[in-house]
């Protein structure tokens, strides 16, 4: 079959509403890459539903020329679950933030992920509550001073990737808001994955938490603090890729590839199908500002698993129940046990 319709462009996915994010917000870049990805995926605007909760990033649906529902705080994934279960033919995307998905919506997050309902969750993590003006979030670093933590945050932050893997996630990735092309490619992979795909975005909030991810985006530092995962490739990082990671038993160690006694062949090869190793990579979560010899923070796709989706499994049960045809309206009303009064 050939599609006679011209493929849509990013512009076709642009709604008439002007984004109302602050100047310099990382959300703009995400919006642009989402539009690019949707166009490149060949999606049609009428088959896409973008669902969101509450927060700065949850304004996302208004800016895309698709179907969109801006729901209530924390419930985007529950609503998206209902949409996709009722209508598996739709392409369902969720825009959510660290507070929306991981705090007030935490329960829906873990259960949607474990059910593996086919949707693409774009999780904007800025480690702060922006829309309510700067309170700390469940991903804020310990010690962060905010209006609700004037003496510094005492909560231990959530590790999104570890939580997602622990919940039975089948597609988990992390990207940086500044990595446009990289982000778009991962959005496309997420959309192509059948199941709940989670893409955590480190997104800078220039107003309330500016520079939260500087350690990973600052030109002078990022080479040593970040690790870009590539399927089938060894884990290398550092300027000129001079560093690598190998496993010493179960312990990841950083090795210096300029040392002639170290062979590249000994390095950890990334395999996105390896659940155990994905869990280890998720634990590369040291704060380079406070931890000496911190392991680099991984970006890219941690883990992908082919598993039947919730809606496929449910539809299969319905199909089986209707092997001998759909039940008639009369049978629905009478049930299986009746008697007659003459």
């Amino acid at each position: 079959m050939t599609d006679t319709l011209a493929q849509l462009t990013a512009k076709d996915f642009t709604s008439h509403q002007e984004p109302k994010w602050c100047p310099g917000c990382g959300d703009f870049a995400v919006l642009q890459q989402l539009k690019n990805a949707m166009a490149e995926l060949g999606l049609k605007t009428e088959e896409v539903v973008v669902v969101s909760g509450i927060g700065c990033s949850s304004r996302l649906p208004y800016y895309l020329a698709t179907y969109g529902v801006h729901g209530i705080h924390g419930r985007a994934m529950a609503m998206a679950s209902g949409i996709k279960t009722a209508r598996p033919d739709l392409s369902v995307w969720v825009g959510t933030g660290d507070g929306d998905a991981l705090s007030i919506g935490g329960n829906h997050y873990i259960h949607t992920v474990r059910r593996n309902i086919d949707m693409n969750v774009i999780l904007f993590n800025n480690e702060i509550y922006g829309l309510t003006k700067g309170q700390y979030s469940p991903t804020s670093k310990v010690g962060l001073k905010t209006v609700t933590s004037p003496n510094g945050v005492v909560d231990h932050p959530i590790n999104t990737v570890a939580l997602t893997l622990g919940s039975g996630g089948t597609f988990v990735a992390r990207v940086m808001d500044r990595d446009g092309k990289f982000m778009r490619d991962i959005f496309k992979r997420a959309a192509e994955h059948k199941g709940t795909s989670v893409v955590e975005i480190y997104q800078n909030c220039p107003i309330f938490n500016d520079g939260a991810f500087d350690a990973f985006s600052n030109k002078d530092r990022k080479a040593d603090t970040t690790l870009y995962l590539e399927q089938g490739k060894p884990l290398v990082f550092g300027s000129d890729n001079r560093k690598g990671i190998k496993l010493d038993g179960f312990t990841p160690v950083v090795v210096d590839l300029s040392d002639p006694s170290v062979s590249k062949d000994d390095l950890w090869i990334h395999d996105e199908k390896d659940f155990i190793k994905a869990n280890m990579l998720a634990r590369f979560f040291d704060d380079p500002d406070t931890t000496p010899n911190a392991l680099p923070r991984p970006f890219g796709i941690f883990y992908v698993e082919d598993r039947i989706t919730y809606e496929e499994a449910l539809d299969a049960q319905i199909e089986k129940a209707q092997e001998k045809g759909e039940g008639s309206f009369e049978e629905l009303l009478s049930g299986s046990s009746t008697w007659t009064i003459n």
């Binding site: 709604s15 509403q17 605007t45 009428e46 088959e47 539903v49 669902v51 969101s52 509450i54 649906p61 208004y62 895309l64 020329a65 698709t66 179907y67 969109g68 529902v69 801006h70 729901g71 209530i72 419930r75 529950a78 609503m79 998206a80 679950s81 209902g82 949409i83 996709k84 279960t85 009722a86 209508r87 033919d89 739709l90 329960n107 829906h108 873990i110 259960h111 449910l314 049960q317 319905i318 089986k320 129940a321 209707q322 759909e326 039940g327 309206f329 009369e330 049978e331 629905l332 009303l333 009478s334 049930g335 046990s337 009746t338 008697w339 007659t340 009064i341 003459n342």
Partner: protein, 627 residues
């Protein structure tokens, strides 16, 4: 009446118009099953029927104790059976604890069939009577007719040659009692035999043993001299409308009502739900209806229950969620979203005793004001209430019709009493059911003017724009929106307009609400008993009684609570007084007072128990004295 053939006293048959029976025993004695068998028999026989189970909230409470007593109450009769009976005429007591727990609700002079094997020293001690005080022997029961039958021993004897283990044979004792009861009420045993054969078609020895026990019980009635002083009874079949019947509990009826509405509307049903007593059977029933294209989603919590449904409704399904009080509280933010999105959604709330966890297994009508007002903001939605188990079907069906045709969430109230009670339902044909017509927005072309998702028709209703439809792409949400484009709007005039339009739309539902009619009694007079929900049966019986006494009393029963029927104010003004019995502290009373500025008499019962007709009759009599 009293048509008797006196050959000897034992063959005497006394006709009764209705009989209320309680099967009571230990939770392991199979009382629910026994009662259900009896109910099926009288239903097929053609009686009017109403049943109500009463079991402990613990799954396996200590055997032999009061807390372990499980009961199944039913009333069957020739006419006028609206409740399981305020008190029972006959009690089957399988052990001492069963007797002790229920004796207070046996009619004076009522019949007790006691299994004497359940009154040994151990059982007497566990029940609290004490082994020295056997109530069967010490005169405690002198005001009742007591048949002392060693059920366990007789069952063992009857099944001795089956080769089955004693443990298994002992489990057949309930079937023996059932046989005795069939004999005593001149009922056929065939229905039960057929059921047993179907149920155990793979285990013939088990089917045979159970059937043998029923027959042995029946023959025991025939052969023993025990009943020679009293004879047998008979209850003529009811004069029921001819047709095909099924037996439904209120929860089953609610589930089928939703599924039927979806079929009629040409939609697929989606139920997002979280298990909660006493509403779970709605989810359970629909989970087993995949054959009819029903999708159920057991969500992670009550909030996800309603939000998945909102998602499904947005996507074009007939969406519903079911719950009970604590769950409704959790869903209330979601319901506000459904109100502002203006999408169809049915919420079946099966009320139980509150506040908080309250009395989870006991009925109450105390979520009424939460149903009316329990949302932030001005967020009105239609509220309707079912009056009987069968009516749960029609209430759920009508709620779905209103939801779809008015693009609004609708609250359908039932309660734990209706939910678990059962009665025969005349199976409607699909054509008998009212039409349900969703109004979908049609696809649009690129050069059409911009789509206006909140443009309303003359009823004030917007159209349903289903994702996947070309040209209807639009963005809406919980933020206030422009009255036509649906775009976010903080404009003060627009918010006032939208608040008004949402309220007017719900108020306009009154246009399809039928006028309230008098169920029984004069069109004007001294007293109107105004009921709503599950109090129907008790009020009906009570008003029948006082009308026989020549009093000027009428009964009307509200199904539509928001909006009220248009003639309600006028109708109430035809009586000197209005009495509102309800299982809460006066919530309908508040609504009526608020809306009509009249002063009705409230009558509250908040004991986790439904009203019985005697209580209402006594209240009516008291009020009439004061008029």
């Amino acid at each position: 009446m009293n048509e008797t053939t006196i050959l000897n006293k034992k063959d005497m048959v006394t006709a009764k118009t209705s009989v209320s029976v309680l099967f009571a025993g230990d939770s392991g004695d199979g009382m629910q099953l026994t009662g259900t068998q009896f109910a099926n028999t009288v239903a097929v026989y053609g009686s009017d029927l109403n049943t109500f189970p009463n079991f402990p909230s613990e799954i396996r409470p200590p055997a032999g104790t009061i807390s372990g007593v499980s009961g199944f109450q039913l009333q069957f009769g020739t006419s006028g059976v609206y409740t399981p009976g305020a008190k029972f005429d006959v009690m089957i007591a399988m052990n001492a604890a069963a007797l002790k727990a229920n004796l207070k609700n046996l009619h004076y002079g009522g019949i007790i069939l006691a299994d004497t094997d359940g009154f040994d020293a151990k059982n007497l001690n566990l029940s609290g009577y004490g082994e020295a005080n056997n109530p069967l022997e010490d005169g405690t029961l002198k005001d009742y007719t007591v048949f002392k039958i060693p059920v366990l021993s007789l069952t063992r004897k009857a099944l001795a040659d089956t080769g089955l283990s004693t443990k298994f044979i002992d489990r057949c004792k309930n079937m023996f009692v059932l046989g005795v009861l069939y004999w005593l009420y001149s009922l056929p045993i065939e229905t039960t035999i057929e059921t047993l054969q179907t149920k155990f078609h793979n285990k013939q020895d088990i089917a045979d043993a159970n059937i043998k026990a029923v027959q042995a019980g029946y023959n025991f009635g025939d052969e023993t001299e025990m009943f020679s002083q009293h004879g047998r009874f008979s209850v003529a079949p009811a004069d029921k409308k001819p047709g095909v019947y099924r037996r439904v509990t209120g929860n089953e009826a609610s589930a089928i009502g939703l599924a039927a509405a979806a079929k009629k509307a040409g939609l697929k049903l989606f139920l997002g739900s979280y298990p909660i007593t006493p509403a779970s059977e709605i989810l359970q029933t629909l989970a087993d209806m995949k054959k009819f294209d029903v999708k159920t989603f057991q969500a992670e919590d009550e909030i996800a229950g309603v939000l998945t449904s909102i998602g499904a409704a947005y996507a074009g399904a007939l969406a519903a969620t079911n719950t009970s009080g604590p769950g409704l509280a959790l869903k209330s933010e979601g319901l506000g979203l459904a109100v502002i999105l203006e999408i169809p959604l049915v919420i079946v709330n099966v009320m139980r005793g509150g506040p908080s966890t309250g009395l989870p297994t006991k009925p109450e009508q105390s979520d009424l004001l939460m149903a009316m007002y329990g949302r932030h903001g001005d967020a009105p939605m239609p509220v309707i209430a079912a009056k009987s188990p069968v009516d749960c079907f029609y209430a759920a069906y009508e709620a779905s019709k209103i939801a779809v045709e008015y693009m609004t969430p609708v609250l359908c109230l039932t309660d734990g009493y209706l939910a678990l009670s059962s009665e025969p339902m005349l199976v409607p044909s699909p054509d008998d059911l009212a039409s349900i017509t969703p109004i979908f927005s049609p696809a649009r072309n690129a050069d059409d003017p911009p789509y206006l998702p909140y443009k309303r028709d003359e009823k004030g209703v917007r159209q349903w724009a289903i994702p996947g439809t070309k040209g209807l792409e639009h963005r809406i949400g919980g933020l206030e929106k422009h009255h036509e484009t649906g775009n976010v709007s903080h404009d003060p005039e627009n918010h006032a307009l939208m608040t008004k339009m949402r309220a007017e739309k719900v108020a306009r539902v009154a246009e399809i609400v039928p006028d309230l009619t008098i169920d029984n009694g004069p069109e004007q007079g001294d007293l109107l008993v105004l009921g709503w929900g599950s109090t129907y049966g008790a009020i009906k019986k009570a008003v029948e009684q006082v009308l026989e006494g020549g009093c000027s009393v009428a009964h009307a029963h509200l199904r539509y609570i928001n909006p009220f029927p248009k003639n309600l104010g006028q109708l109430m003004s035809n009586y000197k007084k209005v009495l509102i019995p309800e299982n809460n502290a006066g919530q309908m009373l508040s609504l009526i007072r608020d809306k009509y500025l009249i002063e009705p008499v409230g009558f509250s019962k908040v004991q986790g128990l439904p009203f019985n007709e005697m209580e209402i009759e006594a209240k009516i009599t008291d009020i009439l004295k004061e008029l």
